[in-house]
């Protein structure tokens, strides 16, 4: 083990004094340039990689603004809306604040969406295509390739049906007719 005393070296101020001014300023310039480049890359990469969160109603209202930009869409899966093309693409509807949107998702098992009103977050972008929805028709569908399912841990005494009954209170307050229609649907 090296037990050499550590005070034999020149102190920091001495080292600085001995350094030639040109070298000192050169070193400073290199550090400033490195920090500047790193900050530029950081800001630019951060700007490129940010994805906005939008609830379904916000995403529909801001569709023109969002364009083909990639963002995260949040809502609940409308029961009975899930269909599978057998080639890995699952179509379903998401609803939030009484607004529905069609989603075409690629890459996850369709069983994931079987639970009525399960809250999910899908990542993708709007694509122009006419689609029929629980709330009418729409001109765009949301194409997603990434999915985050929100697993709720809330307990209900009748736990066998707990997932099917997780529509939060007040979900249809602003559109009772949609709630009635969906409740009446097979």
């Amino acid at each position: 083990m090296d037990l050499t005393p550590r005070t034999e070296g020149p102190d920091t101020a001495e080292v600085r004094r001995r350094m030639h001014p040109a070298r000192r300023y050169g070193a400073l310039a290199v550090i400033v340039a490195a920090v500047g480049i790193a900050a530029f890359l950081l800001i630019r990469t951060l700007g490129d990689a940010t994805e906005f969160f939008r609830n379904v109603d916000e995403a529909v209202a801001e569709r023109a603004e969002l364009g083909d930009r990639r963002f995260r869409l949040q809502g609940r899966v409308v029961p009975g809306s899930v269909s599978d093309d057998g080639q890995g693409t699952v179509s379903f509807q998401l609803m939030f604040n009484c607004t529905a949107a069609g989603v075409e998702h690629r890459g996850d098992p369709p069983e994931l969406f079987d639970n009525p009103w399960i809250p999910v977050l899908v990542v993708g972008a709007w694509d122009e295509r006419r689609v029929d929805l629980a709330t009418g028709t729409d001109t765009h569908v949301f194409r997603s390739d990434e999915l985050i399912v929100k697993h709720t841990n809330e307990y209900e005494a009748d736990y066998g049906d707990r997932v099917a009954s997780t529509v939060p209170a007040g979900f249809f307050d602003d559109c009772p007719e949609v709630g009635r229609d969906l409740a009446a649907a097979p």
Binding site: R6, T7, L46, R70, G86, G88, G107, L112, N153, E154
Partner: protein, 669 residues
């Protein structure tokens, strides 16, 4: 059980407060007896935490649904192993686990320093640890009470989240993460003690090194096992998603790794004192910030969607930790001046400084990406997320530079080297690096980033092996393989294996989705999968398992499956992975047709060298153990060294009126 558990928590809280009061009294009145008896309260707190956790485990094992935590997170059908693990399946239980681990550390420190309990440095450290423990006891006593009861207990519970009962790694990985996370409380407490007492030589570093290494090693193992769990369970074929929870564990690892390197510069040269203290304090603060980010519900994560009342308390505690840490450093700034500077850029300390800047820069990048959504929402109300491309792009150059510095630092001597010496020592590693690039290119690797990474990996591996061989030649096999240097080299070899596995599996993976009828085959990246049929079965706890029998390359039959848990509607995919040293074939069942003739839809991912990630993690764990195994010898050596350090530093800086004199160490067990 609820009464017993709650009582134990309250006893633990009172013991912590009594311990803090007694030690504070002993420090103020200079009463060694009070300092010693204050430490005894720490053992009472430990016993209380063991009792509380025991009560919770008994409640889980006995399906005591009168306790809300058990009713919400367990079920009679939950298998035994996962019933035990349900303790850390949700917020309240995981904070209780935190309390247990923390009090175990406090108890360990009391035992480790049992002959020096009246030393003011140790007393201040214990006081700090008890203050942290009191905070967490308070959390489980009120806002995150795991022993809250239900007036009308149900006959059955839903069981833990399916993802938490689908693989044995989920039993081990969170515990290791907690041992790592919480373990940084020990060096933090000693850093605070050193600042308060003004005993800022290298003694306290020597005395806490073992604890730092235990925390770092556990955190490393916890992170790697978490990645492995994600790979084996989640079915997406990846192992790291830059999820906020992953980032929360990675941040203290980055600053902790920077610290265990830069601390060597302080031990050797007495430099970087403020830097080292800042790193330690930051590491602890980041564990609290990470807990806040992941347990408060402020950030969405695939791990946790909890919205809890402990968020503001954790944030306030984080604020206190940061304020106290910064205040102490400013207060002692004069005493923390380095006695010397870096003599040459061609020295080990210069490369360590470089690696520290990279590690802290990396930590800043990850922290910014993690909290950026919070900052933006606070500023303009916009909700956004930072995607993986940000982290991937930023971490690539930092990772390459770290790999290069890792090799260079081994080859350079302390204080001052020369180009001639570097050329001589780097000759073989440089050849190995060059040949690695050539071999990778001949095997079909392309892309300059991947080839550069393979070259740097070869260079660093050769430099590390060279160091181990020299050590074994000099000291023999056992002594040569143990200790900080050789243990560190084994850790470096683990990092190299991990880097190779990471680069290869990220750069050269092939993925395809194929729909197959019975006895139909498809080929993906040279591997043939043949679908044999669908099998239905019932597993432990009544889970319904639908699996596809798939023959791989005419040999072994694999069973990628989808599992439905009785109380959770969401099915959980269970991939099947064929693992070899050359690469994995990863199969996920995406869809089972409703008609018998529909066949199945399979996702097949071929990932080369992915197993080297786990081998690398194992090597890192082995290296960490080797670095701390000769604890008694190392501790004695370091303590002897620290006595010299204190004297030297005191001589260099005398007079230091505010600083307390360093008493002669009584010895370390």
């Amino acid at each position: 059980m609820a009464v017993l558990g709650r009582l134990a928590v309250l006893v633990g809280l009172v013991a912590c407060l009594a311990g803090i009061g007694t030690i504070a009294y002993g420090l103020r009145r200079r009463r060694p007896a009070a300092l010693r008896s204050g430490a005894h309260y720490a053992l009472v707190a430990l016993a209380a935490a063991v009792l509380a956790v025991g009560a919770m485990e008994m409640a889980l094992l006995r399906d005591d649904f009168s306790i809300a935590y058990v009713a919400e997170n367990s079920a009679t059908s939950t298998p035994l192993m996962y019933k035990i693990a349900t303790l850390w399946a949700a917020l309240e239980g995981s904070i209780l686990l935190w309390v247990l681990v923390l009090t175990l550390y406090v108890g360990g420190v009391v035992w480790w320093f049992r002959r020096r309990l009246d030393d003011r440095l140790v007393a201040w450290a214990l006081l700090t640890m008890l203050a942290v423990a009191a905070f967490f006891f308070f959390l489980v006593a009120w806002p995150a009470d795991p022993f809250a009861t239900l007036a009308d207990p149900p006959a059955q519970g839903p069981g833990p989240n399916p993802l938490l009962q689908n693989h044995p790694l989920m039993v081990i990985h969170p515990v290791l993460l907690y041992v790592g996370y919480v373990g940084f409380t020990v060096p933090f407490a000693f850093a605070v003690a050193a600042l308060v007492t003004g005993r800022l030589g290298e003694g306290w570093l020597a005395q806490t090194r073992v604890w730092t290494m235990i925390a770092w090693g556990s955190l490393t193992a916890g992170i790697i096992l978490g990645a492995w769990w994600s790979y084996e369970v989640l079915g997406w074929g990846g192992y790291w998603a830059w999820d906020p929870v992953e980032n929360a564990s990675f941040l203290p690892w980055l600053t902790g790794t920077a610290f265990i390197h830069s601390v060597m510069v302080q031990e050797r040269r007495g430099m970087l004192r403020i830097w080292n203290l800042s790193l330690l304090l930051a590491t602890f603060a980041l564990t609290i910030l990470g807990t806040f980010l992941t347990r408060s519900g402020v950030l969405d994560s695939v791990h946790e969607f909890t919205e809890s009342t402990i968020g503001p308390l954790l944030l306030a505690f984080f604020g206190v930790v940061v304020a106290v840490s910064l205040g102490l450093i400013f207060w002692r700034a004069e005493l923390l001046r380095s006695p010397g500077g870096i003599n040459s850029p061609l020295s080990r300390e210069a490369t360590f400084l470089g690696n520290n800047l990279l590690f802290t820069g990396f930590a800043f990048v990850v922290l910014l990406g993690t909290v950026f959504p919070l900052l933006v929402e606070a500023l303009n109300g916009d909700r956004l997320a930072v995607g993986a491309p940000y982290f991937d792009r930023m971490s690539m150059p930092i990772g390459l530079a770290l790999l290069a510095l890792m090799g260079l630092s081994i080859l350079l001597p302390w204080r001052s080297g020369s180009m001639g010496l570097l050329r001589q020592r780097a000759l073989i590693p440089a050849w190995v690096g060059g040949l690695s690039v050539l071999a990778a290119a001949l095997l079909g690797a392309d892309g300059w980033v991947a080839l550069l990474a393979f070259g740097l990996a070869g260079f660093t591996a050769a430099a590390s092996i060279r160091q181990v061989v020299r050590s074994v030649r000099r000291q023999g096999l056992v002594a040569g393989l143990t200790g900080r240097t050789s243990g560190g080299m084994i850790v470096h070899l683990g990092v190299v294996a991990l880097a190779v596995g990471f680069v290869a599996s990220q750069s050269y993976s092939t993925q395809d989705e194929v729909r197959l009828a019975v006895d139909q085959s498809a080929t993906v990246a040279g591997h043939t999968v043949t679908f044999l049929g669908v099998e239905e079965s019932t597993g432990a706890g009544g889970r319904q398992i639908t699996s596809a029998a798939v023959r791989l390359d005419g040999g072994a039959v694999h069973h990628p499956a989808v599992t439905r848990f009785p109380s959770f509607g969401t099915p959980i995919g269970t991939p099947s992975v064929d693992t070899s040293l050359r690469g994995d074939v990863y199969m996920t069942l995406l869809d089972v047709g409703s008609e018998p003739g529909d066949g199945v839809l399979l996702r097949v991912i071929v990932r080369p060298l992915v197993v080297w990630l786990w081998i690398g993690g194992g090597l890192m764990a082995v290296g960490t153990v080797l670095a701390i195994v000769p604890i008694r010898r190392r501790a004695r050596d370091l303590l002897e060294q620290s006595q010299g350090d204190e004297t030297t530093v005191a001589a260099a800086q005398a007079p230091e009126p505010e600083a307390e004199p360093e008493p002669a160490p009584v010895g370390v067990p």
